[in-house]
Symmetry: C2
Subunit: 220 residues, 2 copies
Amino acid sequence: MKVIELNKSVTEDNDEDARQIREDMRQKGTLLVNLMSSPGSGKTTLLTRIVSDMKDRLNIGILEADIASDVDAIRAEQAGARVIQAHTDGMCHMDALMTKKAMDEMGAEGMDLIFLENVGNLICPAEFDTGAGCNLMILSLPEGDDKPLKYPLMFQVSDGLVITKTDTAPYFDFDMKACRERVLALNPDIRIFPVSARTGEGMDELEAWLEEKIADWRNK
Amino acid sequence: MKVIELNKSVTEDNDEDARQIREDMRQKGTLLVNLMSSPGSGKTTLLTRIVSDMKDRLNIGILEADIASDVDAIRAEQAGARVIQAHTDGMCHMDALMTKKAMDEMGAEGMDLIFLENVGNLICPAEFDTGAGCNLMILSLPEGDDKPLKYPLMFQVSDGLVITKTDTAPYFDFDMKACRERVLALNPDIRIFPVSARTGEGMDELEAWLEEKIADWRNK
């Protein structure tokens, strides 16, 4: 596993950098998914489950962006993904130039699906286009059903929302119906997937959607 | 309950603004506690419990800083605190000038303890001195025991760490001993309080420590 250090980019032309990444990924037939969430939402557990379930039919890469540590990267690599660990030098989000450098290190050629595991933060990552073809947000059930009210932009910029840790429902007062309504009021087109990566509940629907997204990306 | 809009400050002299706030709070005998955590860590539930438990012997104020919504402020006010809701105009953290404006709106005179409920974010708030006399961090048990490895600065700048939602322990693989060791390796002076605001477990120790902190602040 490679560890790279990424420093703050000159983000003046972030949109142009993002456009170039998308063009490059489209040529390679690789869907880059920008995965965003709070710290501790279960991103790595979800990804290791997806990799285990799908690795026989897809080549999957993971770019782990963290301020420090490589604990997530080690777990994801053990599950069977090609993994790059990026340290963001304290930065609270990934931007397009940082993503580009990391994609160059990884080598996207021949990959079907690459997850950019963004820094755990519900605010700053929503403001920067990373060049991904799809934004996927995670909300874990213990975080509460009021999060759409408090962090609206993140829900607005996402194509899909995975609600994780559904197996812990007996322990939390999480109103799934109210949460869905709040999310759909912000973003009527978002797809919502309640899952438990631990028990596997809901994973089939999420994985089928990811395969659809790859096919759509290649046919666009 | 008052709702105020705070825009990005000129933060060039953030340290000077922070110093002025501390001086003002010391003259008034008010301890300002900067409460920082991830989204969904249970900040508001913890605060409403503290207010309920301590309101008969302390005047408590709460400054709720959120990007949007006033759901937390309403709950905190019902518990018996003086509450100001601040909207941060998308900003991912509070700085000293924003805090100063909010303190002016609240009127700290005669208050014993004011909590600044910072924006839910483990990264950016750790980088800005708000002028508080005490930094208190919350880590909820569902977030996982690896967070000190991934967000070290937040643990380093905090005087106290409250580990919330301990009543959900049967549902999560949270290693309390490993977490403590990781936190203390970053910050040997931090005080750690495992609590459940729901059952009340551990609240006495935390509240006694807050009273000590108020007394220390007034005697400094």
